[in-house]
């Protein structure tokens, strides 16, 4: 009797006093030995499994870059494919440490959802795709009144779509699915006339349709879609790490440090290259971040700089063949601007 009583009281007291778990993601990640990274369920060029079952893409490579910075191993990542609807809950609940899933940076996601966006790995905008063979004579989104539009649930796309048609006094018939593959199938089978998502996504999806050449992407871009990696609110150290891995990728491209010349660059005597790669004497830049001083060198060695990541996954070296456009470095007229590493 007394033991039961003690046990019960004890557990109640423990329960009352138990504090919420600590928020140090870096410690958790190191203890686990890998980063749990949330990616899409399959969007060519950004995150999709290849023939051998390995995840590839721009978003995937960003996860690998963070893993390289922490573990010196780009494969110390486990990927969790998430639908647009699941992604934020998965991040908030701690199921993933990092969400790198073509996610648009908006104010409400940054504030009310308790998230932090670490940067913009791809500047995108929403577009429309139609089957030009079946719908001849349509060459502008303003001719789409009355169309059935396929869209993925829980995206900014869904909201922009509603705003655009309302602003232009047009009607439409939304056909909404939760998973990207379901939207693709529905569009391909003719359930809807129009497919709308980020333009990069449209190009990627067009490749997977049964007859890609029949489909055209309409010229209108109806929104700003800055896509980037996201972390939970409340852990500044982890936020800093993800943010600076992104800036390191940009700075490396700007300084001409690439996967190919990383070995020579380690011996470079240029001060900014030495600061980036942690070869400067007595540097504390890496250790202040909670990592080793060669953190950026590890990233470049394993995944390359931002330009290499871009060309490999969505640019000239990929089936998507998307030009750099606004995603070029600021020195080349684009928007990508790495904060100084100093």
């Amino acid at each position: 009797m007394k033991t039961i009583l003690k046990a019960l009281l004890g557990s109640a007291v423990v329960a009352l006093l138990a504090a919420p778990a600590s928020a140090a993601t870096l410690d958790d990640v190191k203890a686990k030995g890998h980063i749990q990274c949330g990616v899409s369920t399959g969007l060519a060029g950004f995150s999709a499994p290849d023939n051998a079952g390995n995840w590839t893409g721009l978003d995937v490579d960003f996860c690998r870059a963070v893993a390289a910075a922490v573990f010196d191993d780009p494969n110390a990542v486990q990927f969790t494919p998430l639908s647009a609807k699941e992604r934020f809950t998965a991040l908030q609940s701690g199921e993933v440490d990092l969400l790198s899933r073509n996610t648009t940076w908006t104010i409400s996601r940054d504030t009310a959802l308790g998230l932090n966006f670490a940067g913009v790995t791809y500047y995108d905008g929403q577009g429309f795709m139609i089957n030009a063979k079946k719908l001849q004579g349509i060459n502008s989104a303003l001719q789409l009144s009355g169309a059935a539009v396929c869209v993925q649930a829980g995206t900014t796309t869904e909201l922009n779509l509603a705003d655009y048609f309302k602003a232009n006094n047009m009607e439409y018939n939304p056909v909404v699915f939760e998973k990207l593959e379901e939207v693709n199938t529905a569009y391909d089978s003719g359930r809807c006339d129009v497919y709308t998502t980020d333009q990069s996504g449209l190009y990627a999806i067009r490749l997977t349709l049964s007859s890609p050449d029949d489909h055209i992407v309409l010229p209108e871009i109806i929104s700003k879609e800055p896509l980037g990696p996201v972390v939970r609110h409340g852990d500044d150290q982890w936020f800093d790490i993800v943010k600076w891995v992104y800036y390191a990728l940009l700075n490396a491209e700007e300084l001409g440090v690439s996967q190919a010349n990383i070995e020579e660059s380690m011996n470079s005597d240029k001060p900014d290259v030495r600061r980036l790669l942690g070869t400067e004497d007595g540097t504390k830049l890496g250790s202040d971040l909670g990592l080793t001083n060669d953190w950026a060198a590890r990233v470049i060695k394993h995944v390359g700089n931002y330009g290499e990541m871009f060309e490999r996954n969505v640019g000239a070296d990929s089936p998507l063949k998307i030009s750099r456009g606004v995603n070029a470095l600021w020195t080349k007229g684009g928007l990508q601007y790495g904060m100084p590493i100093r």
Binding site: L8, Q92, L135, L144, P174
Partner: protein
């Protein structure tokens, strides 16, 4: 020696407080209550603290916010300017719609197939058997996919719609029906219909009383049908045919005008109906077989023919066996309607999910889901229990 004495004297035995069963019982209950309370308190406190730490807003205030997304299939007025609360109501009504239509169809099909399984006709018997075995052994999600991808999505595009009688069309965007446009005086027709219903009820009561008193029978069914069809028809003629039709017609993209029944609703409705009907068929068969053959023989011996025997003797007794498991099937159908999310039918789970995604209010939305489904199930169960009590054997 002392103890023996006390018992012999007949006084209550003195038991230490710790070993008194009554005191112990109360103490255990208090402990469990305190433990449970502390646990719930901790869960709530911990959740609130964590939400605050992660800077996630909480509370139900978000329901007043502008939803911003459109819903394809809505029974009430809804646009992207409506609130999240209204979006959830739209979803709830869609769930309710598919559940009600599904339950009605599943019951009809289920009864027919169940009786068919008992048929002496070999072909009917086997067809019903195959139907039951096929649908009962496939997961409901696959049945939904079968209807959606296998049947409805292979229909022709709007331009090559299949024309059906009465100006209706079938294509991969759904089933299009002409819309009824009621003119002036339509209210009178509705009034006539309601009057007919009330009148039919009184006729039935009068006929029952008369039969009890005199034994004479009155054709209640035909009188009621005559009333319910005739009165509104009369009103229709009197008001001068206030009805016109709006027929669906082809526009640039889709058929416009008329009433569109979307393929998402159709496939979910058909899948849930046919899936659940297979289970109901087996329940009906069990119910009918559960009535002793002696009952049929006895009623034949009393001179009742086959029809009245089935209607007055077998079915009332079979229903007592059928109703309780039938209730579970109705609940299953309602809950299975949440599979709608797989084919993009905007039910409560789908609209709630989008709301959750946009507002991040996971706990609140999940709570709403739980409460709504619990409420729906309890309401269904309550109704069926009432019906069961009415049907139950009343001993006199």
């Amino acid at each position: 020696m002392a103890t023996q004495q006390t018992i012999a004297e007949g006084a209550a035995p003195r038991v230490p407080l710790l070993y008194d069963p009554r005191v112990r019982g109360i103490a255990y209950q208090v402990l469990v209550f305190v433990g449970l309370f502390a646990f719930v308190y901790w869960i709530i406190g911990n959740t609130a603290a964590n939400l605050q730490r992660a800077n996630i807003a909480s509370g139900f205030g978000f329901l007043q916010g502008r939803a911003g997304f459109d819903i394809g299939d809505s029974l009430i007025q809804y646009s992207s300017d409506s609130t999240y609360g209204r979006a959830l109501v739209v979803g709830f009504l869609n769930t309710l719609r598919v559940a009600i239509f599904g339950i009605i169809t599943a019951t009809i099909v289920g009864f027919l197939v169940g009786i068919g399984r008992l048929s002496k006709n070999w072909l009917i018997n086997r067809i019903c058997l195959v139907y039951v075995e096929v649908f009962r052994n496939i997961p409901p999600l696959l049945v939904i996919f079968f209807w959606y991808f296998g049947v409805l999505s292979v229909l022709p595009l709007p331009r090559d719609s299949i024309a059906l009688p009465f100006g209706s069309y079938l294509n991969s965007r759904g089933f299009y029906l002409p819309k009824f446009l009621w003119g002036e005086g339509a209210g009178l027709i509705a009034l006539a219909f309601v009057l007919a219903l009330v009148f039919a009820w009184f006729v039935r009561r009068w006929a029952y009383k008369r039969q009890m008193a005199t034994g004479e029978r009155f054709p209640v069914l035909w009188t009621s049908v005559g009333l319910i069809v005739g009165l509104p028809l009369l009103a229709f003629i009197v008001t001068g045919f206030p009805l016109s039709f709006e027929f669906p017609a082809l526009s640039t993209f889709n058929l416009r005008g008329g009433v569109q029944i979307r393929p998402e609703f159709l496939s979910l409705y058909l899948a849930l109906s046919f899936y659940t009907a297979a289970f109901i068929a087996e329940i009906v068969r069990a119910g009918v077989l559960g009535v002793n053959r002696g009952q049929t023989e006895a009623s034949h011996a009393l001179g009742l023919r086959s029809g009245p025997t089935l209607r007055l003797v077998v079915i009332p007794q079979a229903l007592r066996i059928i109703i309780p498991p039938l209730t579970s099937q109705y609940l299953n159908l309602t809950k299975n309607s949440s599979l709608a999310v797989a084919i993009g039918y905007p039910d409560l789970v789908a609209t709630g999910g989008t709301t959750l995604n946009q507002t991040g209010q996971a706990i609140e939305i999940v709570a709403i889901w739980l409460i709504v489904y619990l409420g729906l199930s309890l309401a269904t169960a309550g109704f069926m229990n009432w019906y069961n009590a009415r049907m139950a054997l009343v001993e006199r």
